[in-house]
Subunit: 347 residues, 2 copies
């Protein structure tokens, strides 16, 4: 017999887990049939589907999606990149994103970029390396380096919570400049004439504030020195930052009659400090928040704030990605969802 020498066996520890091949053996079918039962059961005859399902049941098999992703180049994962999680205004967006994506069979992977973008490059590499089918960004990718990487990766991308004439890909948000201007005009109409700002230091807030200040000056609501009193705290904004901010503003400009805050949390702190200082809201001081978080209607007094539909942005971003991945044409890849000022009792 002309038997070739058996080559030395190299065996790898396959981690012992059940595989699709095991299930196929149990069901008495080819591996691909098991794969089809899992991914497109309509292409398999009912009795084989039945057999395979029963084999899966009995063995407790859980498909290895990593292997499936590698073979199919669809990971069914979507990455969300946020500055932070705790205290973030993006959580409603993440929540609705997760829900909409889960319903379509996608899982979310989370990246925290920090507000300083120090680890941005590392983070992008870690995320792109996992080959998500799509990426959602809280905000706009500002660094040219980051944009280049994302575009080179060719992964569908949705930027959110902002507008820009030069989106990297898809976009759903609102104009921070318009918000700033609208709040200034709102306060003017309510009779305020000495407005101030307490704001976190992030870039979006700064654009809001600039537009607010310009409109305020145009409406002659600046201080005697021609400027709009300003207090900056670190991002994300907190109630403590709001309290400290109000104290600082009043020390420098005791005659202010309105404060525009960069978030509802900051506004909550301002309400508290006003209370502590015996300053009547809204009589002596109007307070406007941003975000219309769930608690905004239930502060004392109820917070007048800018309603931003975080859930809608999450849902729209998710659907943008789902459609794009499905190869559907998306007619309008930039969506301005606008905002509204919700007038309650604090202004």
């Amino acid at each position: 017999m002309n038997m070739p020498a058996e080559p030395p066996k190299r065996t790898r520890r396959s981690k012992g887990g059940l595989t699709l091949v095991d299930v196929a053996r149990v069901a008495g079918v080819a591996p691909i049939t098991v794969s089809r039962v899992l991914n497109s059961p309509e292409k398999v005859s009912p009795d084989l589907v039945q057999k395979v399902r029963s084999a899966i049941e009995r063995t407790g098999y859980v498909p290895n999606l990593l292997a499936g992703s590698l073979a199919s180049t669809h990971s069914r994962m979507i990455a969300a990149i946020l500055p932070t999680i705790a205290g973030s205004v993006f959580l409603d967006t993440v929540q609705s994103l997760t829900e909409t994506l889960a319903a379509a069979g996608y899982q979310l992977i989370l990246g925290q970029a920090g507000y300083e973008n120090s680890r941005e490059d590392e983070l992008l590499e870690a995320i792109i390396g996992r080959r998500p089918d799509g990426i959602v960004l809280a905000g706009i990718m500002r660094s040219a380096q980051g944009r280049r990487r994302l575009q080179a990766s060719a992964i569908p991308l949705v930027e959110t919570w902002d507008l820009t004439p030069t989106p990297a890909d898809m976009l759903v948000g609102f104009s921070h400049e318009s918000v700033g201007e609208a709040v200034a005009e709102f306060l003017y109409q309510r009779g305020r004439r000495r407005v101030a700002v307490i704001s976190a230091s992030d870039e979006r807030a700064q654009r809001r504030n600039r537009a607010f200040a310009q409109a305020a000056v145009r409406l002659d609501m600046q201080g005697p020195d021609g400027a709009i009193p300003f207090h900056t705290t670190s991002a994300p904004g907190t109630a403590a930052g709001g309290r400290a901010g109000l104290r600082a503003l009043l020390a420098a400009s005791p005659d202010i009659d309105a404060v525009f805050c960069s978030s509802d949390m900051v506004a909550l702190g301002v309400l508290t400090e006003a209370h502590a200082l015996g300053i009547a809201v809204p009589d002596r001081l109007a307070v406007v928040g941003l975000g219309d978080q769930a608690f905004a209607a239930d502060t004392w007094p109820a917070l007048t704030t800018v309603h931003l539909d975080g859930r809608a942005m999450g849902t729209i971003a998710a659907n943008f990605l789902i459609d794009r991945i499905a190869g559907k044409h998306i007619p309008e890849v930039v969506r301005d969802i606008g905002f509204t000022i919700v007038e309650r009792d604090s202004a």
Copy 2:
């Protein structure tokens, strides 16, 4: 020449992306050398490292971690399973978890189970299918089915925010029963004699409340009917739920002098409603929150609450997993991090 017939070429669309083989070709080394430069550069001579790094740089190569995970059976992903994201008390935990894990090269994948656990089985399958190196659960896995699946998967698991005599694997949390009892005793010592509860309906809250009620009855703080007035809202607790709760409680039991709330958000709503009703806090009504969220020190009056160290739980959970994955022996896989009552002005 005895040339074998060329077999028909089946080509798959390799999605065009750069691979490690391309980089190897550019650098003039074997693929495995590129792999080593990426994963254990200390095993490669400095000049080859240099050559390979330069090739990576020039080509813009991003390693496919999916393929790496499949080959190595280490995904460098950790899954976190939460009831919800928006309004959740677990966000500090998720934040510190993400930070600690990112520093060790792990990425977080997020699963939302919902408070009703309706999609739990699906979710577990989606998560286990991605072969994370570890799983962190917000709370305890209660369903026997879920525990079985997790244990069958053999993935290291940390349950958090609770204590149980029968952890599925590792555990870091605190005793909700002790919290309930401690708050009852705290209120007793502060002279309160008619205590009430406003609580979300989740299972942890219910155990807290039961212990609170038992201690309260023991201390003779029950109402004339022998019961502790109770109001339940849906989970997660909100300020609106707190307001409605206080109104309902006062309608039924006008003589209550203290309220224990299931979260700081609920307590914020209670403070607001008390203000609206002209009820002095703490003089006529003491309010105690739970969680010591960032804003708790900055409500009016400042909220007395139970401090729970969410960040610590995240860090400890992350380190449990990192150590376990590294094969280190963890001497103490159950950790009670306790709690403290932070006395401020509301009680």
